[in-house]
């Protein structure tokens, strides 16, 4: 039982943060690598680094979201450096969420996968900077202010870039749906 005024233990604090941030970090990493297995490995790596350095984390200096997503971005940078020589085949969101072949997907699930694939293509047409903003906003669920801190832009600049990026995605999606 938590006594009033008593500081929660390190484990308890981290457990709470884990519950809140695991889905966000996983989604962010997964949309960057487009592969569930790699996303799980990289997410594990991000949280292991966070645990190792958690005692040194100073909440007065940076919000936990800024801190963990900075770790995530650095981890991804290292990952891409290692993977640079390998020719990666584009893997769609749909493929990433592939179910075992013997379990049939319901129609709505198929529809969702189809949309996810189209959105993935739309995001891929954006500039790397716009892609990063989209991922941090939608997958990591960071606010514009937090994104601004991580990427080194002003908050209003992030808002403008985000708006334009979504508009581009919409236009791309409309074209894709028209073609299909």
């Amino acid at each position: 039982m938590k006594v009033r005024g008593e500081e929660p233990s390190l484990s308890q604090t981290f457990a709470d943060l884990y519950e809140e941030y695991l889905p966000r970090v996983f989604r962010y990493v997964k949309c960057r690598v487009n592969d569930v297995a790699s996303a799980e490995d990289l997410t594990s790596s991000v949280f292991e680094k966070a645990v190792s350095n958690f005692a040194r984390y100073n909440r007065d200096k940076a919000a936990f979201s800024t801190w963990i997503f900075t770790i995530a971005r650095n981890t991804l940078t290292d990952y891409y450096r290692v993977e640079a020589g390998k020719k990666k085949q584009h893997v769609s969101l749909e493929e990433a969420e592939e179910r075992p072949a013997n379990i049939p997907s319901p129609p709505e699930e198929l529809e969702r996968k189809e949309l996810a694939e189209k959105l993935s293509q739309c995001v891929a047409q954006l500039s790397p900077e716009e892609q990063e903003i989209i991922h941090l906003r939608f997958e990591a669920e960071l606010t514009n202010r937090e994104i601004a801190k991580i990427m080194g832009f002003s908050e209003s600049n992030v808002g403008v870039k985000l708006y334009r990026a979504i508009r581009k995605m919409r236009d791309s999606l409309q074209r894709l749906e028209y073609v299909s």
């Binding site: 484990s11 695991l22 292991e48 969101l93 959105l119 808002g159 708006y163 919409r170 999606l173």
Partner: protein
């Protein structure tokens, strides 16, 4: 411009609502805005979530790692605590031990100081203390003129210290001793006293000789005190520097020397005056 800003602000607000899983009211919005929000909504619906299996396995792994870290930190803290408690128990908790240690240190310091001064050995220790030289007080002896062959007077002038601050009163103690074998009579007592600038020899203050006579038996000593206020003959404070206290001579008579003759003396003491 402000319309664009408002639109952007509304969009951010709507996007926050969408990401929080809330419904967004699109009434009154333009077609462009509605389609953009619709896309955002569809995007949020397509987001992947980590599997429960992955969530649980990573959580248990991290918990284990965190527990190990905490245990290590706890052990380190306990070790530090033990070290400190041993030290504090030895030093603080026992007043007897504390007093014994303080006494031992005091004895060691005293012994070391005495040893350094060479108390225990004939040779001086490593620390050599040079005593401050005291102001030299010349002892002048005056040979008796004429038939007297031995000195007549021994004159000494002493001050409390060698260095005075400017404006400070200076008390000068004179001591005159008849070192001859017969009684002498000083014909102008007290004798003339001059205070001179040691650098240029200029007399800054003169105390003229008295008009009285003073007998002094053989080996008798006579004391005389003069207080100098550091003023020159015109009543001005003398500047800082070195000054001499001088009795040029003492005129005296004796049974064998009925005519008064001067017995020359000279500088008796030197003092320094410093700026305040």
């Amino acid at each position: 411009m402000s319309r664009d800003k408002n639109r952007e602000r509304d969009f951010i607000k709507d996007l926050d609502s969408l990401l929080a899983g809330k419904q967004v009211n699109t009434e009154g919005k333009s077609e462009d805005e509605r389609t953009i929000l619709a896309l955002a909504k569809r995007y949020t619906e397509c987001r992947a979530e980590p599997s429960a299996e992955f969530h649980d396995s990573l959580k248990s792994r991290l918990s284990l790692k965190l527990a190990e870290q905490e245990a290590r930190a706890q052990q380190d803290a306990e070790r530090r605590e033990q070290r400190w408690s041993w030290l504090s128990g030895f030093m603080v908790q026992s007043p007897v031990r504390r007093a014994a240690i303080v006494a031992a240190i005091a004895v060691a310091i005293t012994f070391g100081t005495l040893w350094a001064r060479g108390i225990f050995t004939e040779q001086a220790g490593p620390i050599v203390v040079t005593p401050t030289p005291e102001p030299e007080i010349p002892i002048l002896t005056v040979p008796a003129p004429g038939p007297l062959t031995e000195p007549v007077f021994q004159a000494v002038a002493t001050t409390e210290k060698a260095i005075y601050a400017s404006g400070e009163e200076i008390t000068i103690e004179f001591s005159l001793r008849n070192t001859g074998s017969e009684t002498v009579t000083m014909v102008a007592y007290p004798p003339q006293i001059d205070i001179r600038n040691a650098e240029n020899g200029q007399t800054v203050r003169r105390y003229p000789a008295g008009t009285g006579k003073q007998e002094l038996a053989p080996f008798e000593t006579l004391g005389y005190t003069l207080v100098w206020d550091q003023m020159d003959s015109r009543g001005h404070q003398i500047p800082p520097g070195t000054y001499t206290i001088t009795i040029d001579d003492i005129s005296f008579t004796s049974p064998t020397q009925p005519e008064a003759v001067p017995a020359p003396l000279g500088n008796l003491a030197e003092i320094s005056i410093q700026s305040p």
